[in-house]
């Protein structure tokens, strides 16, 4: 008897489409096709239906218009499992970097007095509107993030979160430490792992695209000392963390903790 196909939807809110592109670029997709039914995936399928029931809904992008706020509610109603994919859907994305200015100020800076017939909103992560069941992090996520999540769902299990920072992977790879040796503001110690320390491997400081780690496993004490020795201030680290963590309520507390007791 033929096994029932898993119904999958890939939905985009406001984003660069990189998560979907990463997904579409996986040759492994071809192996998935016999087992899945693509119900909605506008980027590659013309026969796409936004309001059909699905087993797994992957949502990319941040909620940035009224229409998108409505769309995510409908997706939630139609889906068994909702997966927020990438930095925009999970953390608001780089469009949430600026946290000081109001929507009106941002609009004025770019569009002046002009109006359009849609209603823009300040960018927010998907879980500010609906319950999210699982998150795939990264800007963009690694291919293996998709394969792991999808594979786990397909065997009827549940994927686990990563609970250690990029530094762990960076040490395992044997890279020299950008923070210690070059004094650059590498966010590896505070950022969720899973990228195999991709950027530090290229000698480029981590920009934190996978978001702040949820667990208190960063090496706070030694880190505070190192940041201070390298002349990096709390404000500098906080600003850099905000590129991908605009909506993270734990951020200030986390950075505060890192710098605890450190006189500047």
């Amino acid at each position: 008897m033929e096994k029932e196909k898993v119904r999958i939807g890939f939905y985009a809110l406001t984003s660069c489409y990189g998560c979907q592109l990463q997904f579409a670029m996986m040759d492994e997709i071809l192996q998935l096709i016999p087992r899945a039914e693509i119900v909605c995936w506008y980027m590659i399928e013309r026969d796409s239906y936004e309001d059909e029931p699905v087993d797994i809904a992957f949502i990319e992008g941040s909620v940035s218009t009224e229409e998108e706020a409505e769309l995510v509610k409908r997706i939630r109603e139609n889906a068994k499992v909702v997966v927020a994919v990438g930095a925009c859907a999970t953390q608001g994305g780089v469009q949430s970097w600026e946290q000081e200015k109001s929507l009106e100020e941002l609009w004025k800076a770019v569009y002046g007095d002009a109006k359009v017939k849609f209603q823009p909103k300040l960018a927010k992560p998907v879980d500010e509107y609906i319950k999210v069941d699982y998150r795939i992090y990264g800007c963009p996520p690694e291919k293996r993030d998709f394969l792991y999540a999808l594979g786990t769902f397909l065997v009827g299990s549940w994927p686990e979160d990563i609970d250690y920072p990029v530094c762990v992977e960076c040490r395992l790879k044997g890279n020299s430490c950008i923070l210690i040796e070059k004094g650059e503001p590498c966010l590896g110690p505070l950022t969720r792992a899973g990228c195999d320390a991709r950027c530090p491997g290229f000698g480029v400081a981590c920009i934190g695209c996978r978001g702040a780690i949820d667990y208190d496993v960063a090496w706070f004490d030694s880190l505070a000392r190192t940041f201070r020795e390298k002349g990096l201030t709390k404000e500098e680290i906080l600003q850099r963390m905000k590129i991908f963590n605009g909506h993270n309520p734990r951020l200030e507390e986390m950075v505060e903790k890192v710098f605890q007791g450190v006189e500047e």
């Binding site: 985009a12 489409y17 071809l30 506008y42 013309r46 936004e50 469009q95 770019v110 480029v204 850099r240």
Partner: protein, 429 residues
Amino acid sequence: MKEIYLPITVDHIARVEGKGGVEIVVGDDGVKEVRLNIIEGPRFFEAITVGKKLEEALAVYPRICSFCSAAHKLTAVEAAEKAVGFEPREEIQALREVLYIGDMIESHALHLYLLVLPDYLGYSSPLKMVEEYRKEINIALELKNLGGWMMDELGSRAIHQENAVLGGFGKLPGKGTLELMKKRLAEALPKAEYTFELFTKLEQYAEVEGPIIHMAVRPRNDVYGIYGDAISVSDGFEFPSEDYKKHMVERVVEHSFAKHSFYNGEKPFMTGAISRLTNHADKLYGRAKELYESHRELFRPTNPFTNNLAQALELVYFTERAMDLIDEALARWPVRPRDEVEVRDGFGVATTEAPRGILVYALGVKDGRVSHADIITPTAFNLAMMEEHVRMMAEKHYNDEPERLKLLAEMVVRAYDPCISCSVHVARL
């Protein structure tokens, strides 16, 4: 007498990057209105990066668009380097162009095979073509994998490259990797040529035939390519990149989060592969030049569908070009990846040819922070012209079945290879 309007809408154009729709309003006596609705939300990139540290802003700009993130990264870096008064060494410039070509190869292969071809073969999605068109799908995967791998090696990854920084690269691949890259490019060349042959056979719909103003970056050193400091117009005019605001004038239109651009404030214009060929085919060389000359009559600068064929020719050209650029870098091996850059105050404009056309970055730098940012993407430049061509198609086909008209309208849009999400955050000064 009351008029009855029949709106034909494509709420969400499939198989493009980003979210946009077409609205065609038909009355008793023909097409009333045609609108290309760009419904992707605004992301305010310029507004959120002004005041931020230059290097952090440079990490954020590529996130404007995943399909051409390397194009965004490299154009932003060049604008920043011009602003602070730094000029990279020639071998670094060559390797950056190889990275950019990785993006070009991946993007063109993806667009041609996965986004365009299904329409011509009668499929709604490339995934459904797999059984019958295995060879084509394999070529598509091979070319996009090659482009992706070039970006992995030189840019750190295929989407949102971090390994292109002020002064050069964080790290360069070894000599062996570059030699392997050259070998893989050579192996890909026949597949690029197959792609070109395939696309010479596709229809170019005469319904949208008419004069088009083409704009393209004048390539440096008179060799067909990506980087340049002036913009050429198909009417013979040419202007330095710094003057882009004088001749590529933007306006907000109410049905779109993206602005429209007009040449000298009046006329829509086109940019992209066919515009590059229209204005600069004389600077091609190698196999692509031969193919261009032997198929000259197919490259009609009056027809936007020719853009597909032009991209296919560019697959051949850029594959060969990347091999030459790798040779240039290898001739100076070992190459030091990065120079120190003193971040002084200043202002710089960079114009390059992204896969889908002219990309402009104007950046001001003060005290190590971005003091001014204006970014205009090819899709934003193309929108007014694209809308015009959808109108031409609609005027010819408004009596057809709505499904047919919808498909044709979408095909016009797809021929431009638009990145809709990238068009939605255009700055005002």
